[in-house]
């Protein structure tokens, strides 16, 4: 039974709630609305009911406040490959710094399997303290010891918030920590804000294949753990003068039951380009076929950028998956994103909307891509793109 209840005496049968429910969880029975087992307690129906007939029966606030107050501080898990901490750690520190300042607490980074020398850059990017667990046996990523070590550190130091990258590593071992400690974990967050009174973290993420956004709370458990996709948060400018404390941790852990036999690097050049690119020219269903991508490739070439694509174009087979931008592809954050024939399904938007500037070219003036665009161009990309290529070549003095 859902905790959302509809007072049958107050319900007028107006059906307002039916149309706002994202889960099909409300049905009409004898002219009155009733909630079925699909209810996910999103509370959308409560707000629209003109009769005030729908209520959340949970009541406010948890009972374990005293215990929650023991948890203070923000942590960032700084992941490493081959002993080198990656750029996602700096992005997380950028987000973590803001949260820590809002809460008036310390920001710490935790590194497993890298030397102490990696701590300096983390401090320059905003960490007040760095816990370093340097151990040859932990150089290669291994879920069991990693989750055990972080869980033990959480138990000892009690941070209230932990951020990790929504990477192959973070998405694999962080869920073990949440399972072990019975705490909340929210995956793939695109926005993080703290409520200074409750100290709750509002964790916003795309849901339903990126069709909608959901804000998730963990009101009665600490720490609150969130993973964040790479390239969503911005790192702060490193400050070589910043000082911080480095704490060397000698970790104890059980003998792992998984062993990394071999690590093989297999970087696909273009997917790296996509995430590093300053300019991305991206195509969607409106391209109509693979030949249009040849044209987009040329435009990207003259702009010294790279080519992206929506899932629709990839599913059609016009361009390989490694070019895909969006919820199920790459998250990108270029200076300029030129969307050609992309309607702008939310699952695409979540992968590119933090671009500095977005130019959208689409024939349909009502396409949702125009809602996120800086400059909107209603027109035929097959006409406009060739003109662009010609004029840019001319201005650059290329034949």
């Amino acid at each position: 039974m859902s905790v959302i209840k509809i007072n049958q005496d107050l319900c007028s049968g107006c059906e307002s709630c039916l149309s706002v429910c994202p889960y099909d969880a409300i049905e009409m029975k004898d002219g009155k609305a009733s909630i079925n087992e699909y209810c996910q307690i999103c509370s959308s129906c409560i707000e629209v009911c003109p009769e005030g007939a729908i209520t959340d029966t949970r009541g406010a606030g948890g009972s374990s406040e005293g215990k929650l107050a023991d948890y203070r501080g923000v942590w960032v898990y700084a992941e490493q490959r081959d002993g080198k901490v990656g750029s996602v750690a700096n992005e997380l520190l950028g987000a973590g710094r803001r949260l820590a300042d809002d809460l008036g607490v310390e920001l710490a980074a935790v590194v497993i399997g890298a030397p102490e020398s990696e701590a300096k850059a983390l401090i320059e990017h905003g960490a007040d303290k760095v816990y370093v667990v340097d151990d040859e046996g932990l150089r290669a990523f291994n879920d069991e010891p990693y989750s055990e070590i972080i869980s033990d550190l959480i138990g000892e130091h009690k941070p209230e918030i932990i951020l990790a990258g929504a990477t192959a590593i973070g998405r694999s071992f962080i869920p073990r920590i949440a399972a072990r400690m019975h705490v909340g974990l929210t995956a793939d967050c695109t926005q993080l804000e703290v409520d200074k009174d409750t100290r709750n973290l509002n964790q916003t993420r795309p849901a339903f294949g990126g069709n909608i956004m959901a804000t998730i709370l963990t009101p009665n458990h600490r720490p609150q753990i969130a993973t964040v996709r790479p390239r969503v948060m911005k790192a702060i400018e490193p400050d070589a003068g910043r000082t911080g404390e480095v704490v060397t941790v000698k970790a104890q852990y059980r003998k792992p039951r998984t062993r990394v036999i071999e690590t093989v690097k297999e970087e696909s050049a273009s997917s790296v380009n996509l995430q590093e690119a300053q300019i991305i020219v991206s195509g969607g269903r409106g391209c109509g076929g693979p030949e249009t991508f040849v044209m987009l490739e040329e435009l990207a070439g003259v702009l010294e950028g790279t080519v992206g694509a929506s899932r629709a174009a990839v599913d059609e087979g016009w361009i390989p998956y490694r070019h895909q931008v969006g919820q199920t592809g790459k998250t990108v954050c270029p200076k300029i994103y030129i969307a050609c024939g992309i309607s702008g399904a939310v699952q695409h938007l979540v992968g590119m909307q933090s671009s500095d500037l977005i130019i959208a070219i689409n024939r349909n003036a009502d396409a949702p891509i125009f809602n996120v665009a800086t400059y909107g161009v209603v027109g035929d990309l097959k006409e406009i793109v060739p003109i662009l290529i010609k004029k840019i070549k001319k201005s650059k003095g290329i034949a």
């Binding site: 959308s44 869920p175 073990r176 062993r259």
Partner: protein, 261 residues
């Protein structure tokens, strides 16, 4: 080798559209399907049983009664048995409470290997697989793209990483979550469909699992959905009008202003 496969019935999110007026999902006519990644998990389990020439594949899902359809589809693909874990007490479960519930079901089955899709396409969290492994106190390997070898004691797989792949060996029992590159899921055979039609699918309730009620559904879930909304529009959009030629000129002047040309 006894293999359990964790699957989920999901709405086909590729078919979900947004009502532009209300900003809500249009669910009407959206089909329910087996989570696409789980098809690869089923295929891997059935293929492994075939190559070993022995063992059993049991498909398990937690969901409402209609999730039986997904289990029958899995039997049609070659799974031997299926179990529906279903109870009103499970409603509102987040990934923690779901992991807890499925862990109890796994303990009842006692498999040597558990396989699941890397994530479900409705929630996209990728948390339940590793969560079950932790609660069962067994190792897991996520994002498996190839199974290189499996013995009675251990399994060797390739794990997809952001910069390539790792070859990882795990002692059994273990849990794997799998990606699309792993295999091509087979279509149901005629014989399989006949078997699925006749299959009796047991339903396990909270009581059957001996569950602690306080760990189930909403009560056991640390996370709560505060609100759901359509993404906001940026407020500062400027439309570029005119003929294609004029539009192109204006784009170029913007790019020039930005020092991109």
């Amino acid at each position: 080798m006894n293999i359990a496969v964790l699957i989920k019935q999901v709405p086909d999110t590729a078919e979900v559209k947004i009502n532009p007026e209300t900003g809500t999902l249009i669910r009407e006519g959206v089909p329910s399907i087996i989570n696409p990644y789980d098809l690869h998990a089923i295929e891997a389990a059935v293929a492994l049983r075939e190559s070993k020439g022995e063992g059993k594949v049991t498909v398990v899902t937690m969901g409402p009664p209609q999730a039986t359809d997904a289990l029958k589809d899995a039997i049609a693909m070659g799974a031997d048995e299926a179990v529906l874990v279903s109870d009103r007490a499970f409603a509102g479960a987040d990934t923690w409470a779901t992991s807890y519930t499925l862990t109890l079901a796994m303990k009842k089955i006692g498999p040597d290997l558990i396989i699941a899709g890397k994530q479900a396409i409705d929630g996209d969290t990728a948390q339940v697989g590793p969560g079950v492994a932790e609660m069962m106190d067994i190792p897991h390997v996520a994002y498996v793209r190839k199974i290189e070898d499996a013995t009675d004691k251990a399994i060797r797989v390739q794990r997809l990483m952001d910069d390539g792949y790792d070859v990882v060996e795990a002692d059994l029992p273990a849990l794997l979550t799998v990606v699309r590159e792993l295999n091509v899921p087979r279509l149901p055979s005629l014989k399989g469909k006949m078997r699925a039609k006749k299959a009796e699918i047991p339903v396990w309730s909270a009581a059957d699992l001996g569950a602690d009620e306080s760990m189930l559904g909403l009560n056991g879930s640390p996370t709560q959905v505060k609100k759901i909304f359509a993404p906001e529009a940026r407020g500062d959009r400027e439309m570029i009008e005119g003929s294609a030629e004029e539009q192109a000129d204006k784009i170029i002047s913007k790019l020039t202003e930005l020092k991109c040309l």
